[in-house]
């Protein structure tokens, strides 16, 4: 879903280098999603394939966190979202490399390098905008304040995930939180940004309950496939 969101920046980023950077990141995320969806299709019995899972599931069947479906906002919002998510992904994939599941470990070994690169990109921009002009700092802090309530959900586990983590297959996301907070705090210190007080937190994405913007995002993503089922080019 984040790949789909980032793709919206194509031809609209503040500079051409960022246009390329954000769509490159989108492409990496798409590749990771394809590998995981392909595997999910095998695990559930092989009656559906990766395209069915991406293009034919309904809103309630998607298990993504609310953070990734949030609208792009201004460039600062996109960068804040990237920083929060890529830092989470980096630590998640670092752990998943030692999964007892060979395929998940393989996907993680590949994706961890990409996540590290995405993290560096977001961290560089966070510092540049946060420790920049009055206006860039104000907008970067506003983006952090707006998206911060969506970060708690990254560390929610459901029963399936907890069970798989106990078997050494998955990672319990709660265990990633201390490292994540430390890394974000370090970047914020350099960027002269502050972690806002927690007023409320968003939850439920991994149970299939989404925020309002998700339906619109899904409609755009699935439109073509639903209009021309089975088309190829």
């Amino acid at each position: 879903m984040l790949s789909q969101r980032l793709s919206e920046w194509a031809s609209r980023a503040p500079e051409i280098e960022e246009d390329i950077a954000l769509t490159n990141i989108a492409l990496d995320l798409l590749g990771q999603a394809r590998a995981l969806l392909d595997y999910a299709a095998v695990v559930e019995g092989g009656t559906r394939d990766e395209d069915d899972l991406a293009y034919l599931r309904t809103e309630r069947e998607f298990r993504n966190v609310h953070l990734v479906e949030q609208e792009n906002g201004d460039f600062a919002h996109t960068i804040a979202r990237q920083l929060f998510f890529s830092t989470y992904q980096l630590f998640l994939y670092e752990e998943l490399i030692s999964s007892t599941d060979e395929l998940l470990a393989g996907v993680a070994a590949k994706a961890v390098k990409e996540a590290a690169y995405h993290h560096d990109h977001a961290a560089l921009w966070t510092v540049r905008l946060g420790d920049g002009t009055d206006d860039s700092r104000r907008r970067m802090q506003a983006a952090v304040d707006r998206l911060w309530p969506f970060t708690a959900e990254l560390f929610d586990a459901d029963d399936v995930e907890t069970g798989l983590a106990a078997q050494g297959i998955a990672v319990d996301p709660a265990t990633l939180r201390p490292r994540w907070v430390r890394a974000i705090s370090d970047t914020f210190t350099t960027a002269t940004l502050v972690i806002p007080p927690t007023v409320w937190t968003s939850h439920g994405g991994r149970r299939g309950v989404h925020t309002e913007c998700f339906g619109y995002l899904l409609a755009e993503m699935q439109y073509l496939h639903r209009l021309h089922p089975g088309a190829s080019w």
Binding site: E17, E18, I20, A21, N24, I25, A26, L27, D28, L29, L30, G31, Q32, R34, A35, T87, L90, F91, E94, E102, L103, A105, G106, V107, A109, K110, A111, K113, E114, A116, Y117, H119, D120, H121, A123, L124, T126, V127, R128, A183, D186, T187, T189, T190, A191
Partner: protein, 184 residues
């Protein structure tokens, strides 16, 4: 998995197949072959004469992967192998260290700086740095020589480039922009 056959004939056939598959040009960087890039990870021929090729993508979402699969099948069919199966394996993950000497030379000749032997630091976060304030990327940038005039005075313009595996630089001596393969 396929049962490897140890006969001389098949060893020769495997070598033949390997040569044909390795010679396929990368669709995005046609100056190098997929053999040069190190993404052909294994070739075997089973008892029925079917060639099994194992490829690994450079990046998870590399859009060239599907084209490469197709080109490998065509190349092997042209080389006389009618039955070809291509499988993609993610582990062990591809690294720029797998680009051959020949591949590095060809990239350099075409104005694309091959990845330096000095590996960049992958992650600021894991090493306790913010990832934004470290000097590690500066080292990488300084090591990047301009492929046209050879000047070490170059500037990283964007950490992402025209393909998933490249970044964009500019030479501050001759002022020309150039691409470099990201150390990965």
């Amino acid at each position: 998995m396929t049962a490897p056959l140890a006969t001389a004939v098949n060893t020769t056939a495997v070598g033949h197949a390997w040569a044909a598959a390795s010679a396929v040009a990368d669709p995005e960087l046609p100056v190098v072959t997929i053999g040069d890039l190190g993404i052909v990870r294994g070739i075997d021929i089973d008892a029925d004469g079917c060639v099994h090729v194992v490829l690994t993508p450079t990046y998870s979402g590399c859009p060239a992967t599907a084209v490469i699969r197709h080109d490998v099948v065509s190349a092997l069919q042209d080389a006389g192998f009618d039955h070809v199966e291509v499988r993609t394996e993610l582990a062990p993950a591809w690294t720029t260290d797998w680009i051959t000497e020949d591949g590095r030379r060809k990239l350099a000749e075409h104005g694309i700086v091959p990845p330096s032997a000095v590996r960049s630091v992958q992650s600021g976060a894991s090493t306790g740095h913010s990832g934004a304030s470290t000097g590690q990327r500066v080292e990488v940038a300084l090591a990047m020589r301009c492929p046209r005039c050879g000047s070490p005075d170059t500037l990283l313009v964007s950490r992402f480039g025209s393909t998933a595996c490249q970044a964009m630089y500019r030479c501050t001596s001759c002022l020309e922009p150039f691409d470099a393969v990201k150390p990965y």
